[in-house]
Every structure is written in structure tokens, then in C-alpha cells.
């Protein structure tokens, strides 16, 4: 069993949990992920590691309550436990010899972009953070991100906070203003990562994206998470989750992620909650 040491609601839909998992905490690196299972009936769901404390033996995850499992996890209270928490999985992000990097976070993707920015900042790299949200109410990790960035830019789709527009607009204007980025790291919804990759292609800037296909085991034994990268089949759980954004088939990934849409929608209507006995 894995104990929840602390819990914080970052906004209405996004929750942060610090979980006691000493083995995972000891080895975790930015870009890697874990798989959790809430109880014996639950499915296995991947979440990227948002932070870790090797001394305390804890790992932090930040997630959006979008479906059954994330709602179950979000309903857990401080001091309660979940049955399974396995990791660190996947390959850590390779920072090569970057001097200046733009880290882009879309919505809850900021939770995954944060450890990247933090790691780069710690290495002495110049980090421009560009984050985007639909509106002011769902902004997360503002102070944390500012603390690890050289420049921090915030956009909202409706202009209710920061600059109005998309992260891609901001990125393009920064590139055009003469910022020479060695790499762009983009993490967020698939369309956002796709459009960032399209935006950086003409400038030939190395673009790293963190993919989020459906997973079961997370150890390379099923291929459920397969993605096409540069025309080849890759398993995101062992070869990734980071890939070269210019080579990823984003449309295929989006299609594959839709496989259980109907079942999920049905579940949202009819599933009986194991915690409360209510329909969820």
C-alpha cells in the first residue's frame, strides 16, 4: 500500500498528491512516469512524475480528474493509501548540452513541464517558460514555475489573465524576436504539442514532446501505447514517453486514444461509485 502524505487542490479539476514510495523516489528523474492503481478493482493508469523528494521518500503527481480512475484517486484523503504505485518508468528526458530552452506547458501539462523546467534551471540552463490555459480560473503552478524560469510567459485563450492567445503564438513571437532556443520542450494536449511541433519545424529547432497514449503495464509487454515515430512503431512506455515532435504521427495518437471513449462516457452516466454508492 502507498500512503498519501499530502494533498492539495490546485484548481477545481486538478489535484496534487504527494505519495510515499521510497523506491520510486530514489530513482525518479524528470520525464519519467509512474502507474497507479487505486484499489483491487481499478485500472492501471500512468501519470508523469511532477516532483520527488529522495530524502522523504515521496513522489508528487498532479492530475486532472477527467475519468473514473482519476476521480477515484482525487477522492482519496491525506493519510489514506492506494494499492499500487509502480515506477519510475520510461526514459528520462535527455538534455544534451542545451544552453537555452523554451519549456511549454498546456493546462495540466504544466505539471509535467514543471519538473523539466526545474531540472534545466538547476543545471544552469536559461529557461523560458510559456504556459497556456483556457482561462484565469484554471491557472496552476504559477509561483513554482516562476521560481525555475528565466522568463515566464502566461497566456489564456480568452485573455482573462496574462496575454490573450495560444502558447504557439507566444512561442513564434519569441523566436521571431531573436531568441535562439536549442530546444523546445512541449507538454500538454495532443493538438497543442502537434501545433508547437509544426511551429518550430521551419526554424529547425529540436522539439521534444511527452506523449500520453493509453497504457496498461508500462513495461513494454503489451504495445498498447504504441506510437509511430519517424515511420517506425515505438512503445511510449519504454522508448519514451519523450519523442522528437517533428517525427511523431499525432493524428494517429489522437485516434488511438479515442478507443474507449464510448465506454468512458457510458461509465460517467451509469457507473456506481464504490466509495459512496452513488452514480458518478
Amino acid at each position: 500500500m502507498f500512503k498519501i502524505v499530502s494533498k492539495k487542490e490546485l484548481n477545481e479539476a486538478v489535484t496534487m498528491l504527494e505519495i510515499e514510495a521510497p523506491f520510486v523516489a530514489k530513482k525518479a528523474k524528470a520525464g519519467q512516469f509512474i502507474i497507479f492503481r487505486v484499489d483491487e478493482y481499478s485500472e492501471r493508469v500512468p501519470l508523469t512524475i511532477a516532483d520527488y523528494d529522495r530524502e522523504k521518500g515521496t513522489v508528487t503527481v498532479i492530475f486532472q480528474k477527467v475519468g473514473l480512475s482519476t476521480k477515484l484517486l482525487g477522492a482519496k484523503k491525506e493519510g489514506e493509501s492506494i494499492t499500487d504505485f509502480v515506477g519510475p518508468l520510461g526514459v528520462a528526458t535527455d538534455y544534451e548540452n542545451f544552453k537555452k530552452v523554451a519549456v511549454i506547458g498546456g493546462g495540466v501539462g504544466c505539471a509535467i513541464a514543471y519538473p523539466q523546467a526545474k531540472a534545466l534551471h538547476k543545471m544552469g540552463v536559461e529557461v523560458d517558460v510559456i504556459v497556456g490555459f483556457r482561462n484565469k480560473d484554471i491557472v496552476i503552478l504559477e509561483d513554482e514555475m516562476k521560481a525555475v524560469s528565466t522568463n515566464y510567459y502566461l497566456t489564456t485563450d480568452d485573455g482573462s489573465y496574462g496575454e490573450k492567445g495560444f502558447v504557439t503564438d507566444k512561442l513564434k513571437s519569441l523566436i521571431e524576436a531573436g531568441n535562439n532556443y536549442d530546444a523546445v520542450i512541449a507538454i500538454g494536449p495532443i493538438p497543442m504539442m502537434k501545433f508547437v511541433s509544426i511551429a518550430t519545424k521551419p526554424y529547425d529547432i529540436k522539439t521534444i514532446v511527452s506523449l500520453n497514449p493509453i497504457m496498461i503495464d508500462g513495461t513494454g509487454m503489451c504495445g498498447g501505447c504504441r506510437v509511430t515515430v519517424g515511420g517506425k512503431i515505438k512503445f511510449a512506455c519504454v522508448d519514451g514517453p519523450d519523442f522528437d515532435g517533428h517525427k511523431v504521427d499525432f493524428d494517429e495518437l489522437m485516434n488511438r486514444n479515442s478507443i474507449y471513449k464510448e465506454r468512458e462516457a457510458e461509465e460517467a452516466q451509469t457507473h456506481i461509485c464504490r466509495l459512496t454508492g452513488e452514480k458518478r
Partner: protein
């Protein structure tokens, strides 16, 4: 006088039309009377050819003689001197190519039903003495780590624990058992049996640590250096699925058999209460001809698919699946398309599978494996209308451990290289066995390798 019936005692089974709608065990097992009668078919040959056909050399005529006398407990004791998992092996071994292939009674008629008798004895023991847990042997103070809790790891752990070693099994999944829990379905191997075996190991002091992906959370070298293990056994299996590399394999509705079976068996997606989803299919094509393909096809049928096809590129005689499973699959309404090879999976226009294009094959000369090589017949392509495709064309060892451990040599298929006499790898003190060494094979071969490695580890540590 021996029973000179030329046929095996039939085993009671669920009716095909009923069982293809549930996940309960198909074969129901012998009664005591049936077992005694079948045991009397054994001629108790002096030269015991059956024993040489068994990878762990179960003392077959001896245990069968006890069954014939109604001494089931004694029969169990005979079996378990060499086989730790008789309830599993009696159910899943391909006896027709092992012990029963060598049975003298098989020359004129059917061989003695050795597998069914082994299963009977194990089930009888579990029913009458199953709650008696083994004693924890006195510790010899030496620690051995086992990587993987499949059949090879369980067998190795059991033998070492009996000898007093302090054994820890590291399992990547949340449940121990390997292919016995995620691969082989409940209707062929009830999971309660596997759990009972693991409980017995725990009673002997074996520590099972789940959620531990060795190669990620801890390396082999860390186990040796930081955690003070004196020896290691790698039984990590061959879990990496192969795909064909044909057009359309990334469409929604294409699964590897590993994913399909893991969702069903480990995650129990066929039971309402469990959260893991699985696609509801109308028509399913399973590509391949092994046990895994049979399991996937029979699961698909049980999940309600109206049409389930096995698409296999050779003919029926070359199929590697257990005869009994092929027979059961046919009874359950699985359609077999022999000498057919998929060339393309078709897109319905929205990214979902709507068919599989196959070509007709004919058999040519034998290839390196000794099986006749299938050759495509020009212009023979046709389409099977399906909404789901399950690829079951084989697996290979996962590279995670070999890629994170220096000095561990593998062959070109990624299988660990071991000394055939001792099962030691190219590194001292590190042993391996099962599918991680042989590539995908059988449960009993994996168990045999686990036992052999346990013996070598004991010799190595006694002299260390």
C-alpha cells in the same frame, strides 16, 4: 489386471454452448472413481518411457500406481518430489508432445491420461489438505533474489526456500504469477490455484515484492551490491510482443495478444465491477496458431463476439497449440482459416478496423525449424470483415534487464545466454531460466529451468 480400454477415460466438461459464454473452467476434472479406472490403464512399464518425456521427470508410473490403489495422498507426495505445481502442469502442459507422446499405450489406442491424473491428484490434495501450509525451513542465512514471478521464478523460489535460503521475488506487475495470471485465462487455469501456490511459497518464508520493475527501480548490480543478495535468478520471461509490420496495425481495434489477454485475465475487464475497459467486438480475427492465439480467440467469443476467426499461415498439423485447446476452440465455434496470411488491416475511414485482407498460402519445402514454409498464392487475396484484430504471432524477451546489466550476454534474438548444465549466465552468481533464455516456450520447461537453476545456485553458494 490392467484396464485394457483403448481410449482415455473422458473428462467431464462444460457443454460448448454454455461455456463459450462464461469464464469458468471448461474441463471439470476426474472423480475419484474415474481417476482410479484411468490409472488402471497404466502398464507400469519397467523402462518408463513417459518419464523421459516429462521435462521435470515426474515419477509417473509410481504416482499412477498409487492412484490406482486409491492412495491419493501418497500419489501427491510422489509427484511433488519433482514438480512443485502439479495443478498447473496437469492443466496446461502439452502432454501430447511430452509424457503422453512416449506412453506405450499410445501405440495401439490412446495413451494414459497422465496430465488428467496429475491434475486430479493435485486438486484432490488441495481439496483435502489444501489448508495445510508448509513449514518455514530453518534459515541458512543466505539471500537469493528472483526476478519475475512466473513459472520459472516460482519453481526456483520454492526449491531454494526448502533449502533454507532467504528468497525474495521481485515482480513488475501488481499480482504475482506471470503468464499464469495475465496470460492463461481462468477457463483453462483458475487463478485461485495460482494464488494457493504463491501462498504456500509465502508460508515457506518467500518474500514477494510486487510493483518492482527490475532494471528501472533497482538494477541487478544494486541487488548484489546494495541489497546484499548472494545470487540472482532471472526469470523475466519473453513478454515483448511482435507485430507484423503491415499497414493498419495502428488502427483502433488492433491489439497484441498480450494486451488483449492482460486486460481480460489480469485486469478482469470481463467482470462489470472492474474498471479496465476492453473493446466490445462483433467479429474478431486472431492472427497466429499457438496457445496464446487459442486463448485470445476463446476469450473474444466469451466477450460476446459473433464471429471469431483464427488466421494461421500454415496448416492445422503445424499448429503449436495444445491439441485439447484446438479441439475446445472448435467446439466453441471458433472458425479456423488455415494457410492464410494477413497482408493489410483495413480502415473504416474513421481510424477503426473494418476488415483484414488475407492471402492464401501453400506449403513449400521445410525451413530451418523443420516446418514446411508457407508461400503466398498470387492473386488469392480476400477480405474478412472484422472490427477487431488480435496479433498473436509470438513474443521475445524484454530488453529491460539485459540493457541495464553489464556483462549479461544474449543471443541475436535477445535471449540470455546460459551454461546449459548450470543455467548460469555469462556473469558469475547470476542465473537465468524459462522464456528469458529459450524465448516463448512452455510452463513446464520454465519450471524445469527454475529447478535446475535452484540446484546450481545451491551448489554455488554452498561452496562460496
Amino acid at each position: 489386471m490392467p484396464n485394457m480400454n483403448t481410449t482415455k477415460m473422458k473428462m467431464p466438461e462444460q457443454a460448448p454452448d454454455i461455456r463459450n459464454k462464461n469464464f469458468e473452467e471448461v474441463a471439470l476434472g476426474y472423480t475419484e472413481q474415474m481417476a482410479i479406472e484411468e490409472a488402471q490403464r497404466c502398464l507400469n512399464c519397467k523402462h518408463k518411457p513417459c518419464v523421459s518425456g516429462c521435462p521435470v521427470n515426474v515419477r509417473i508410473p509410481e504416482f499412477i500406481a498409487e492412484v490406482a490403489k486409491g492412495e491419493f495422498l501418497k500419489a501427491y507426495e510422489v509427484i511433488t518430489t519433482t514438480n512443485a505445481l502439479p495443478a498447473v502442469c496437469g492443466r496446461v502442459c502439452p502432454q501430447e508432445s511430452q509424457c503422453e507422446a512416449k506412453c506405450v499405450r499410445g501405440v495401439k489406442g490412446e495413451p494414459v491420461a497422465i496430465g488428467r491424473l496429475e491434475r486430479f491428484v493435485a486438486d484432490w490434495y488441495m481439496e483435502h489438505h489444501g489448508n495445510i501450509m508448509p513449514q518455514k525451513p530453518a534459515s541458512n542465512g543466505k539471500k537469493v533474489a528472483i526476478i519475475g514471478s512466473g513459472p520459472s521464478g516460482l519453481a526456483c523460489a520454492g526449491d531454494l526456500a526448502k533449502l533454507g535460503y532467504d528468497v525474495t521475488i521481485f515482480e513488475a506487475f501488481h499480482t504475482a504469477g506471470g503468464v499464469l495470471v495475465y496470460g492463461i485465462p481462468e477457463f483453462r487455469l483458475p487463478k485461485a490455484i495460482v494464488q494457493k501456490e504463491i501462498d504456500k511459497l509465502s508460508a515457506m518464508g518467500v518474500n514477494v515484492m510486487t510493483n518492482m520493475v527490475i532494471g528501472k527501480v533497482l538494477s541487478i548490480d544494486e541487488l548484489l551490491e546494495d541489497m546484499d543478495f548472494h545470487a540472482i535468478f532471472i526469470g523475466s520471461g519473453a513478454g515483448l510482443p511482435s507485430f507484423m509490420g503491415i499497414e493498419g496495425e495502428a488502427l483502433v481495434g488492433v491489439y497484441s495478444a498480450n494486451e488483449y489477454l492482460t486486460r481480460i485475465n489480469l485486469m478482469k475487464s470481463y467482470i462489470e465491477q472492474y474498471d479496465t475497459p476492453i473493446k466490445k467486438s462483433k467479429a474478431v480475427a486472431v492472427v497466429g496458431g499457438g496457445n496464446v492465439a487459442m486463448d485470445a480467440a476463446r476469450c473474444a467469443k466469451r466477450l460476446g463476439a459473433e464471429h471469431v476467426y483464427i488466421v494461421y499461415r500454415r496448416s492445422e498439423v503445424e499448429m503449436p497449440a495444445r491439441l485439447e485447446e484446438i479441439h475446445h476452440a472448435k467446439e466453441e465455434g471458433i472458425a479456423f482459416h488455415f494457410l492464410r496470411n494477413p497482408v493489410k488491416i483495413l480502415n473504416d475511414g474513421t481510424g477503426k478496423v473494418c476488415g483484414i485482407e488475407c492471402q492464401v498460402m501453400e506449403l513449400g519445402e521445410p525451413d530451418a525449424s523443420g516446418r514446411r514454409r508457407p508461400i503466398a498464392v498470387e492473386g488469392s487475396n480476400y477480405v474478412l470483415d472484422v472490427d477487431t484484430v488480435v496479433m498473436s504471432i509470438g513474443t521475445s524477451p524484454n530488453p529491460l534487464i539485459r540493457s541495464t546489466t553489464e556483462g549479461l550476454e544474449t543471443n541475436k534474438k535477445g535471449c540470455l545466454i546460459v551454461n546449459e548444465d548450470t543455467n548460469e549466465t555469462t556473469r558469475q552468481g547470476i542465473y537465468a531460466g524459462g522464456d528469458a533464455v529459450t524465448g516463448a516456450a512452455t510452463v513446464i520447461l520454465a519450471m524445469g529451468a527454475g529447478k535446475k537453476a535452484a540446484k546450481s545456485i545451491d551448489e554455488y553458494l554452498k561452496n562460496a
